[in-house]
Amino acid sequence: METDKSKIGSFLFNRSVQGVFYQLITLGLVALGIYYIVTNTARNMLERGLASGFHFLGVESQFDIGMTLIEYSPTSTYFDSFIVGLLNTLLVAGIGILFATIIGFTVGIMRLSSNWLIAKIAEAYVEILRNIPLLLQIFFWYFAVLRALPKPKQSLELYDSFFLNNRGLFIPDTVFGEGSSIIFYLLWLTIIISIGIFIWAKRRQNSTGERFPAFYVSTALILGTFFISLAATGFPVSFEYPELKGFNFKGGVKLIPELVALTFALAMYTASFIAEVVRGGIMAVSKGQTEAAKSVGLKQNLILRLIIIPQALRVIVPPLTNQYLNLTKNSSLAAAIAYPDLVLVFAGTALMQTGQAIEIIGMVMGVYLFLSLFTSLIMNLFNRFMKVDGER
């Protein structure tokens, strides 16, 4: 008996048991809190006559959207409007990330230039762009773009097929006719073969030291196959040109000024942060690396490409991920200049017309969470790929 009691006692006063106990209590309280909030919300919504549930997603939206990447009309459902908004957000985030990366890396490397003028221009870019609030920059580019561009009837034009006015940029659309699918199959095939060539070339270089011009060979393969297959199938591709009809141009592809202004502002703003991340990453590579590379006779551009950048990337990628996430989330400022992104279309118009704030805001938050986690995942995989062998 004595021993049993002391066993129980030591069990109760065991630190790890106490730890589990308090964690269970905390978890229980959190669960209780969530349960209370959910039921309280549901009851209040019922009392105040608020509609709830996701039935509205199947109902016709009855409104129109200015820019859609899929077929959409007022008879489409609210779910379609969600998809339209989502795709528009993805489009602006995707293009924004691409341009922000290009501009950011360029400016970051420029800032390290030994040329005084180039370095100062890059410094001025960074200091101006990152210190002005993004919303102001978006307004600036939007109204600067609008004011500078002519009306549709006085459009700037290029070869009668590209038109630029304050309604947007109009470019010819490619229309693929009969038999064009074979071209795409061949295109994919050559891309896969090219990836194989790269892997083979790297292995061969690792084992024998011999280099193979994989880049030139695969480019020639892809382009060559593409044009030969085009010619062989008798050019089943035609162009649809924009034409001025009434108020505006019809036909072709249209880039609305809101998209241009928003992408431009997001890319320029985020690039100023990326430039600093890149500069920091490069400076983190010790000077000895450059000197060692020089001493074995590598040329300047090869030193940058083979020695500096691979090591710098390990430092650059994690903060770069943050910048990508910021850009995606900042794209929700689109609502200020009428770019129909997810927030404007779904958390704006659809929310107003249905009044189902909780469901809609929940869905929109879920989308941004998913996009951010997905971007993180991709960048983490890339970071693992870039790490030096043997490093943890």
Binding site: D64, R167, G246, G348, L351, M352
Partner: protein
């Protein structure tokens, strides 16, 4: 350990403090001595702040009338400027008690989103404004136009209906704030600007050159605008509804801000006597004092006083009342209040 105890207590307190239900709005308002009225961010004639932050307009006067009815003082109101997008959430969440912000009464708003419309204080309809030099004279010529408008309004749905019904194409350009719509239209982003016609008349005064623009003759929708309250609080809805009705009925029976004192002393008409609070005890049913309607008329005015003061022909907004639906039913309009008895 101490921090854990404190955070635990904090959690318990926060759970207990979340209000599960809400008390009657009228009682709350009476005890706190004022109420919150949701208005626009500045629509001249309807709800617009002056340089000192004093709000005026016919929508503001609905709130002032409610305040006069409850407190005998039209200024026990706090005004909360809201965008079209924010307004319903603000009302549902209890941030405001009355929404008087040129809001259109529709089935879905009434039935689905927990709102109750307390009447109509302005009968409007959606129209289009274009540049004079575009040469357009009818909305039927707008095929292919870019259309600037405001997010979160019935306008978005009406224009989709209008263009669809007439087989015309258009490009919607939708902004969150009214001033951004005006700015983008002024900069030439759009061929036309659409909203309620009263809104067009009001916003036109903000354009760089108001005379270079014209409102097209077509009215493409019905827009009955009126005050809104939360659903499920009938007593409060009654106070707002009858404050508005009293203004309309006072005009019908010739009781105005300028003559109310003398009329009330002399009258032999029982309807006027009831409006003056001398007979009938109408206040009891509303949980108000018997002079509630007299206070509205003397301190805010009747419907005609308010209309002419803020949006009538002698104001910058300049909307003629004669011949419009906002005229009294006796003059061919549709303004008709149920009897206050």
């Amino acid at each position: 350990m101490n921090t854990m105890r404190i955070s635990f207590l904090g959690l318990v307190c926060s759970v207990l403090m979340v209000p599960a239900a809400f008390a009657g709005t009228l009682d709350t308002v009476k005890s706190q001595g004022f109420f919150n009225c949701g208005v626009s961010q500045g629509v001249p004639g309807f709800s617009n702040p002056d340089a000192d932050g004093n709000w005026s307009g016919i929508d503001v006067d609905v709130c002032r009338a409610v305040s006069a009815a409850i407190f005998g003082d039209p200024d026990k109101v706090k005004y909360v400027p809201l965008t079209a997008k924010e307004r319903f959430t603000a009302l549902q969440a209890g941030e405001i008690d009355v929404l008087s912000r040129n809001t259109t009464w529709t089935l879905s708003r009434d039935a689905q989103i927990g709102l109750e419309f307390a009447g109509v204080n302005f009968y409007d309809g959606q129209g289009f404004m274009v540049r004079k030099d575009s040469g357009i004279t009818s909305a039927m010529e707008l095929d292919g136009a870019s259309v600037c408008t405001n997010l979160g309004t019935t306008t978005e749905l009406n224009m989709a209906d209008f263009f669809r019904a007439n087989g015309m194409a258009y490009e919607p350009v939708v902004f969150e704030k009214a001033d951004e719509v005006v700015n983008a239209y002024d900069e030439g982003r759009c061929d036309t600007y659409t909203t309620d016609k009263s809104g067009l008349a009001a916003q036109r005064t903000k354009l760089a050159d108001p005379d270079a623009h014209v409102v097209l003759p077509e009215t493409i929708s019905k827009e009955p605008l009126g005050p809104v309250v939360r659903e499920g609080d009938g007593d409060w809805a009654d106070v707002v509804r009858w404050s508005l009705n009293a203004m309309i009925e006072a005009e019908e029976f010739g009781l105005s801000q300028s003559n109310a004192k003398t009329e009330c002393a002399l009258t032999s008409n029982p309807v006027v006597a009831r409006l003056c609070g001398k007979e009938g005890g109408t206040g009891a049913g509303l949980n108000l004092g018997d002079s509630w309607s007299y206070d509205i008329v003397t301190k805010v005015g009747n419907y005609g006083d308010v209309y002419e003061k803020h949006v009538g022909e002698n104001t910058p907004v300049g909307l003629a009342r004669a011949g419009s639906p906002n005229a009294s039913y006796k003059n061919g309009g549709v303004l008709y209040a149920p009897p206050a008895r």
